[in-house]
């Protein structure tokens, strides 16, 4: 019997290569793999140190080498902490209640009659038929040929006709028809213009129709089902997002929101990122706001809102928003960095305290648009874009301001220092209560004192500016 080749012979590696100095200098990952395999096999003896050394070297050269695929023994669930196992147990509890809910629904299913797509017409596909490309050959060829052959078929006894028969012409004709079929084939060969999920191919009307249908379905579904479908769409959106197909992702998130608008915070949040990826910052801002309305403490949404505002060009607004992120997580690196950058960019002595900042910003604006925007502190500098969005909200808010101003006394300092100013302004000048801005603006549901202060200090008269500034410093 022939002796089996050793790995050394098989890989054709000289024995001298199994050496520390060679392994150190080896640059060839494939060769390194072979060396490791030889050492692991133990055919040339056991050299634990050399093996370890060459494995490390291989890891450097080719970190994803197949030689590093190890199997782990299967673990039992007792290695898990109770805490780790708890979600599973909780989940079983949860799912059981859903299960029961569904079981109850089962009965009224008949009367509901969810619309199911119509049945397809019975048909056959020949499994051995070659795929469409080749298959297209007989199909187009058959119809044109048949008439020609039946018409032109000349009986063997019909000598008159045979006399007139011109073989060259016939050959030419056949060639032509062949070419034609070839062309048709080529046409067919082109892969179907498959509607890829990109939105440009799905026309808008179609989308709307889909949403309408979803809305109709919605009425017939129970809460459990709605949640289920919404979650499904959201997950699918996440997948599209990961695959960098943002348009499709947005479409999926839309569906998720339609199905379950009450619990759509995550879908809104995710849609915001997708919008940001396609550089649709205004949409991203509104999505973040929607998310924050449901989950005011959502750090990601806050940060995203700030990022989107910045990207859209609302720099002052975004500075404020970044600071709000820091309220939630003081050591958020991204926010800290952004704040620093923004402060530099804005080129002002940005005060550390939010309230001060507000006031300084307001100064230039005080003369031109005094009453209109009780909420947006930074808007005047941020050009016109945000105004368009906030304008409708702003009006009712001002009305509120009148009503509520009576309820809250302005800061004592303010009062004492600004008697004259207060007279001039009347109660318009007084600060609205903290709750006012919350109601009027969804963008900053938590602005609290920060936004109330500027509102209180928004002065119609430019001449009070100086005293106003004084007051601010006092504060």
């Amino acid at each position: 019997m022939e002796k089996r080749k050793t790995l050394l012979e098989k890989y054709n590696i000289p024995l001298s290569h199994l050496d520390f100095s060679y392994v150190e200098t080896c640059k060839n990952a494939r060769e390194m793999e072979k060396i490791v395999q030889i050492l692991r096999s133990g055919e040339e003896g056991h050299f634990p140190d050399l093996q370890r050394c060459s494995e490390e070297k291989l890891k450097k050269l080719k970190p994803d080498s197949k030689l590093f695929r190890f199997e782990e023994p299967i673990q039992r669930s007792n290695i898990l902490d109770k805490q780790e196992l708890k979600p599973v147990l909780d989940w079983t509890h949860d799912i059981k209640s859903k299960d029961n809910a569904l079981n109850e629904l089962k009965n009224d299913m008949a009367c509901l009659g969810l619309d199911v797509a119509p049945m397809r017409k019975p048909a056959k596909i020949d499994a051995d038929m070659p795929s469409t490309k080749k298959q297209s050959k007989p199909k187009p060829a058959a119809p044109p040929k048949q008439p020609t052959t039946t018409e032109k078929r000349i009986r063997s006894t019909d000598y008159n006709k045979w006399d007139k028969y011109d073989p060259d012409e016939e050959i030419l004709r056949m060639e032509l028809s062949e070419e034609r079929t070839k062309e048709q084939e080529e046409l067919k060969n082109r892969p179907d213009p498959k509607p890829t999920p990109t939105s440009e191919e799905i026309s808008k009307s179609e989308k709307e129709a889909l949403h309408e249908r979803l809305q109709q379905q919605l009425k017939k579904l129970s809460q459990v089902e709605k949640e289920q479908f919404a979650e499904k769409h959201r997950l699918r959106g996440n997948e599209y997002f990961k695959a960098k197909e943002y348009e499709s992702a947005i479409e999926e998130y839309n569906c998720a929101i339609i199905y379950d608008p009450e619990n759509a915070a995550r879908a809104y949040n995710n849609r915001a990122v997708s919008h940001m990826k396609v550089k649709n910052y205004l949409a991203a801002i509104s999505d973040c706001k929607a998310c924050l309305q449901m989950e005011p403490e959502n750090l990601k949404a806050r940060l995203r809102l700030a990022d989107a505002s910045y990207a859209q060009g609302f720099r002052r607004e975004s500075l404020h928003l970044y600071q709000r992120v820091l309220e939630l997580q003081p050591d958020n690196a991204a926010a800290l960095k952004a704040v620093e950058l923004l402060k530099k960019q804005l080129g002002e002595l940005a005060p550390t305290h939010a309230t001060r900042l507000m006031i300084e910003e307001l100064k230039p604006d005080a003369s031109d648009k005094p009453k209109e925007k009780p909420k947006e502190v930074t808007t005047p500098v941020a050009k016109t874009a945000p105004v368009a969005k906030t304008a409708p909200v702003a009006k009712p808010a001002t009305v509120k301001e009148y009503d509520l101003a009576e309820l809250v006394k302005p800061n004592r300092v303010v009062k004492s220092k600004l008697v004259t100013a207060a007279e001039a302004l009347g109660n318009k000048f007084k600060a609205p209560p903290a709750s006012a801005p919350k109601k009027q603006t969804q963008p900053q549901p938590l602005t609290g004192e920060a936004s109330t202060l500027p509102a209180m200090l928004r002065m119609p008269q430019a001449n009070i500016k100086s005293s106003n500034k004084l007051l601010i410093q006092e504060i």
Binding site: T92, P122, A127, P195, Q228, K232, L235
Partner: protein, 375 residues
């Protein structure tokens, strides 16, 4: 450790051969289908209950069960469609399993494989069931249709004396639905014992594409059934695993793919995966992340894979034809569950990381995979 870990949470030994395991959607219950020693069919329903498995129900039928699916049933009725060893397709109500909701003699041979679609999805076409059988036929069923299939994909009847007929006929081992993203589009992929892979377009009723693997195809799954075709996982005998990128079809080259020849390889010494090659029985994509999937191998191994897309998924060649670019595969985690093949596996559709699998050692296992969300 911050990579996923496969953990055997619970297991149950049974006194029959397990052929398929499936979670009942939106519940903590799963169904085990199998065959008793006297070749009677068994369907057991187990429920997770505070860290243990409770058998809720047992149903026995005359003929052994091979495969089942919930894909065509809505969340409200949750009927299971089962294919059995004599080619009968039946749809059972779990509450009243005695009398099938639908029952048809679908094939002349055993139904090897089944897949279904349209029940859970809204706006994704009719609920349909596809079966693949030893008789070589692939048939699509709509339970509203009655006793005949809505689409019959059979090889042409054999000519001649029929002596060699059985060997000439292909045996269909795997079927899968895909591309169902609206009410018209739908594709059935079928894999045969000779390594043929065929893609049938149910809209145009034609063969869309075909290819031949080196070995018989044991498992097929689209990463998602209800989106435009994205990826198709193909598993074969001798340890082959191929992931086709189904987004772009080149007129002549077809679809591009990434191949892993050692997917079924068992464990050798010291935990290094260097054992013999073995069949890859099944590939199942994670319902929560389509780029992660698990394969079950003939040595009782389970492997968790991650697919990474290339930077550009499509390139244009000189003729302006688009060609897909396949990504790469990473083995995320590996383990061995049993000494027998792990041939059926089902991720829970609603709980990330929870799964049930069956092996030929007459047992079912509930697995938990941790940290899947970090991938």
């Amino acid at each position: 450790m911050d990579k996923p870990q496969l953990i055997e949470h619970l297991n149950a030994s049974v006194n029959y051969t397990v052929y398929d395991t499936k979670w009942i959607p939106l519940s903590a219950k799963f169904v085990v289908l199998g065959s008793k020693a006297n070749s009677q069919g068994v369907m057991d329903i187990y429920e997770l209950n505070e860290g243990e498995l409770v058998k809720v129900k047992t149903v026995e039928k005359k003929v052994a069960f091979k495969c089942g699916t919930f894909g065509a049933s809505s969340l409200r009725n949750r009927h299971i469609a089962i294919g059995d060893f004599e080619g009968r397709l039946q749809v059972l109500d779990m509450e009243r399993p005695e009398l099938p909701v639908y029952n048809v003699k679908a094939h002349t041979g055993i139904i090897n494989t089944i897949d279904a679609i349209g029940g859970n999805q809204v706006d994704c076409g009719a609920p349909e069931i596809v079966t693949g059988s030893r008789d070589g036929a692939v048939k699509v069923w709509d339970i509203r249709q009655g006793q005949s299939p809505v689409v019959d994909i059979s090889p042409p009847p054999q000519m001649g004396d029929g002596i060699n007929q059985s060997s000439a006929r292909r045996d269909c081992w795997a079927v899968a639905f895909g591309n169902t993203f609206n009410s018209e589009e739908r594709i059935v992929a079928a894999g045969y014992d000779n390594g043929d892979l065929k893609l049938f377009d149910l809209r145009s009723l034609s063969v869309r594409w075909e290819a031949t693997m080196k070995n018989g195809i044991c498992g097929l799954e689209f990463d998602r059934r209800d989106i435009p075709m994205n990826k198709l996982a193909v598993t074969t005998l001798e340890g082959g695993l191929l992931i086709y990128d189904m987004r772009y079809q080149h007129p002549t080259k077809g679809f591009s793919y990434v191949e892993e020849r050692n997917a079924g390889r068992g464990v050798g010494t010291n935990g290094v995966i260097s054992g013999p090659k073995a069949t890859v029985w099944v590939a199942r994509h994670l319902p929560q992340n389509r780029d992660i999937f698990l394969t079950g191998g003939g040595t009782g191994s389970i492997r968790l894979w991650q697919y990474e897309y290339p930077d550009k998924r499509v390139v244009e060649d000189a003729d302006g034809n688009k060609t897909g670019v396949a990504g790469t595969l990473h083995m995320v985690s590996a383990s061995t569950l049993s000494s027998q093949p792990v041939h059926c596996f089902d991720w829970h559709p609603d709980k990330l990381g929870l799964a049930v699998c069956g092996a030929f050692d007459q047992s079912v296992r509930v697995l938990i995979t941790t940290k899947l969300n970090v991938l």
